[in-house]
């Protein structure tokens, strides 16, 4: 216990602390909102944060339904977590905190969850064909392509995690360069007062912190769903979608 406490106080990287703080914040808001929504009057439209939560749930259920069919409704909480956590983690740089996305463990863990989702749904939907797929262009008795196929199964993990990590790191390095340059420029006029940074930096913050955040969140969510829907064989996918349409017409 002492060792754990010592690690948390002295050696834990700032990025991990920020990500834990973000998670605690999300948990507190979610618990309070849950209580508020349980007590709320269902006949009246929701207000404030409750409205946002309502919209978020509806949005995630809709996107899941459009891309994957009804079978994936249970994944809505994960989608809501992605949509809330990734923007907050990216934007931590705006508030002067260390952005968790520049610490490779965190994008790797997010990508790992998505990757497990992809592989598990592939196993569930394809069953034995999943194992046959490892030898894919050749027949099953000639397993020459197994190592290559195993590597290609790993590639979504790498591409999802490195994309987020690289984008966040590139943004933070460019911001650091801008602050460095404006600092040495304004040191010609004032001591220790970055006046050019105040003028030049904000548009770059708007691009690297806010715009890039939304694009990356969208890409991560969309790519996760697309990669899962590739793994579902076409007949099953079609069946799920037609079932949904029939239900809609029935209503």
């Amino acid at each position: 216990m002492d060792k754990i406490w010592d690690y948390i106080v002295n050696k834990m990287p700032g990025e991990l602390i920020v990500s834990l703080l973000i998670m605690v914040l999300i948990a507190i808001v979610a618990i309070i909102l849950g209580h508020a929504i349980k007590k709320a009057d269902p006949t009246k439209p929701p207000k404030g944060l409750a409205f946002l939560a309502d919209w978020l749930v509806e949005f995630s259920l809709n996107t899941l339904n459009n891309n994957l069919g009804d079978a994936y409704d249970f994944a809505a909480p994960y989608l809501i977590f992605l949509v809330t956590f990734i923007p907050m983690a990216f934007m931590a740089g705006l508030f002067g905190l260390a952005s968790p996305m520049t610490y490779f463990t965190i994008p790797l863990c997010l990508a790992l969850v998505s990757w497990l989702g992809i592989q598990i749904s592939a196993i569930v939907f394809q069953k034995l064909d999943y194992l046959k797929g490892f030898t894919s262009p050749l027949p099953a008795w000639l397993p020459i392509f197994v190592p290559i196929n195993m590597l290609s199964k790993l590639s979504p993990l790498l591409s999802l995690s490195i994309r987020m990590f690289g984008n966040a790191l590139a943004g933070s390095i460019l911001m650091w360069l801008i602050y460095w340059a404006t600092d040495s420029l304004s040191s010609l006029i004032f001591n220790n007062f970055n006046i050019f940074g105040m003028i030049i930096a904000p548009p770059f913050h708007a691009y690297f912190d806010i715009f890039s955040t939304f694009i990356q969140t969208l890409i991560f969510v969309l790519l996760t769903m697309q990669l899962i829907s590739i793994e579902i064989p076409a007949p099953v996918h079609k069946k799920i979608k037609t079932k949904k349409k029939e239900e809609k017409q029935g209503c």
């Binding site: 591409s159 490195i162 994309r163 990590f165 690289g166 984008n167 790191l169 590139a170 040495s184 694009i215 969208l218 890409i219 969309l222 790519l223 697309q226």
Partner: protein, 88 residues
């Protein structure tokens, strides 16, 4: 700036070549930039021909741009790896 110049003066030839390698790795951005521009141009064409499908085309365009961007990000990650290996 002076710090960087004095740092560069202390490096040996192998380190300098490794740094040139890092620069070349970032050059992958050239290809991925061309690809992204191509994707966006064709998406604009598609929107011009079929304005009703704008939302669908936009989400697919962002997906395509993200996939094309991957190679550029790989180059950047490798450049950062080289820099970390060489300088620290």
């Amino acid at each position: 700036m002076l710090n960087l110049i004095t740092l560069a003066a202390q490096l040996d030839v192998g380190t300098g070549l490794a740094l040139i390698g890092a620069g070349l790795a970032v050059f992958t951005g050239f290809g991925s930039g061309l690809g992204e521009g191509n994707v966006a141009a064709h998406a604009m064409d598609a929107i011009g021909r079929n304005p009703e499908a704008t939302n669908n085309i936009r989400s697919n365009m962002i997906l395509g741009i993200a996939l094309a961007e991957t190679t550029g990000i790989y180059g950047f990650a490798i450049a950062i790896l080289i820099l970390i290996m060489v300088l620290f």
